[in-house]
């Protein structure tokens, strides 16, 4: 019934025009980052560089001290991976127990997580900052991981619980009948089955941690362990209008996540479409 007609072809063309317009900012991003200093003012802002160069990238990557982008990249990777590990391990365990529980405490605890999803983090940040300062956790990678695991745990538990509820109990019960204890059942039976849910949890929470600026600025700003967004914020602030350098940093910050997205775009889109519900 809904065949591909001339009108459809026209529609397809229009959508492509819209897509290219939408992606136009990436064009400016790339051409400007490739411009040498002297071309920044001499060539038009929309014109490609006459003599493309990678020296902006070389310069911003070799900065030391607070502007060390490679250190920031490493910190971002460590904090993101640490947070994902904590969320997957403790989130799946909690969600499994709660989803399989038929006791009243199980549903009460589950509501504890659900309500926490609605609770915005801003209000808790002041006491958390004070507490972390007293414990010496401000500006530390471990403190950040703990903070992110805590703030994103409700989301992780919610996503896992939805998955476990739809997972038949057959395999677990068969394994238990064969004499496996609860620990073995979880590790050998449940763990391999929950891979799709783990993918969604890792992508959704990992993206939030990787791109987080607000909490990272408060807890890591000015420390030795700044993440990419915080480091970028201070570095860009010091560059005023050296757009070719600024865009070199911006591209470096975008490349890891874009590569990961293009590699696993199906999972990203499915995660956002289904996971968020």
């Amino acid at each position: 019934m809904f065949r591909y007609t001339k009108m459809t072809a026209l529609r397809e063309g229009l959508v492509w025009v819209a897509a290219l317009l939408t992606l136009l900012p990436f064009y400016f991003l790339v051409i400007t980052a490739l411009k040498p200093d002297e071309e920044l003012l001499s060539t038009g802002t929309s014109a490609p560089p006459g003599r493309p160069t990678l020296e902006n990238f070389a310069e911003v990557l070799t900065q030391g001290g607070d502007n060390n982008i490679l250190m920031a990249l490493l910190n971002s990777v460590l904090i993101t991976l640490g947070s994902i590990a904590g969320l997957v391990a403790f989130g799946s365990l909690a969600a499994y127990v709660l989803a399989r529980s038929t006791a009243r405490w199980g549903s009460v605890t589950f509501y504890l997580f659900l309500i926490a999803i609605l609770l915005p983090t801003q209000l808790g940040l002041v006491p958390l900052y004070i507490g972390a300062r007293q414990l010496g956790l401000v500006g530390s990678v471990g403190g950040m991981v703990l903070l992110y695991v805590g703030t994103l745990m409700p989301l992780a538990v919610f996503l896992y619980a939805g998955f476990f509820r739809n997972l038949p109990r057959d395999y677990e019960e068969a394994a238990a009948l064969d004499g496996a204890g609860p620990g073995r059942v979880f590790l050998r039976v449940v763990l391999p089955l929950m891979a799709p849910a783990t993918g969604t949890v890792a992508i959704l929470t990992g993206l939030i941690v990787w791109n987080d600026f607000f909490t990272a600025l408060i807890f890591l700003g000015g420390s030795d362990n700044q993440t990419l967004p915080v480091s970028m914020y201070y570095y860009v602030g010091s560059l005023v209008s050296a757009w070719n350098k600024i865009f070199a940093i911006v591209i470096i910050s975008m490349v890891p996540i874009l590569a990961f997205y293009l590699f696993a775009q199906k999972r990203f889109i499915q995660g956002f479409a289904g996971g968020i519900k």
């Binding site: 900012p25 400016f28 127990v97 209000l123 109990r169 057959d170 607000f214 865009f247 968020i276």
Partner: protein, 317 residues
Amino acid sequence: MTATMGTPQDTTPVVRGAAAGAGGGAPFRSRRPRPLISHGRWWWALPAVLVVVLIHYLATAGGAFYAFTDWTGVGDFDFIGLENFRRIFDDPAMIGSIQNTLFLAFGFLIATNVVGLVLALALNRTLRTRYLLRVLFFMPVVLSPLAVSYVWKFIFDFNGPLNGVLGWIGMEPRLWLADPGLALWAVLVVMAWQTTGMVMVIYLAGLATVPAEIEEAAALDGASTWRRFRHITLPSIRPSVAIASTLMLIQGLRVFDQVMALTGGGPAGATETLATQVYKETFALSNFGFGAALALLLTLIMLVFAVLQQAATKDRS
């Protein structure tokens, strides 16, 4: 044994020993024998429960507590009741940030939902390159809002590409980010540009549940495209509308990154939002009590809108 086992569809709950006796959602309480199969141990949930109680509940309660004090981050503090809130509502700058926050949140909600739904409808079926187009439109969603804002800051620059295009078609260049009347709109454009793809994906998931046969039948009966959308598509994607609008409103209310990167709150406070004020008051000026009061206000606004939205979408279904 057989009483607790059964098929996976079996509704007989497998009660764990430790919690035996509480019959889940059952209307009656009954004593059950200790089951032979336990799904995990209750203490497996403990680490997750602890961090959530600590980082969500205790911290939020603590934040609410400081909102009624004049603490500056060090030393003693006094209870000053609602003084902080009186100061917020007496201060035109704070009122301005509340208005800016609401403007951005609702503008964001409307822009992302309208454009996102149009894109989803366009990319739902028939187009040959629809999968590639979805990947392209979704791409900005995964990027850091801060990085995206820097790209747009360049586009909005006085010597930037946008004014270049305007000059080319014979229009006056404008100070997009330095003009108090325009800067807030510029922030809104950046927010919407980055997030529309996410709304599109939520609507695509909703549209996938609309049966093609019903639409085809309606089309055969002579229903126009608009009537098919109004009476078949729209009712089926109501859950998606609820999810997308709630998410966008909450995300819009906590806008921070874009403002910090594009304008820093300027010109003259014209783009200051509640989240940027919380940051500046608390962590730049060390007015912990006042900052906590602002954060409490932001939290209350978010909760009120979240509850209103839930109620509004529940009634219709």
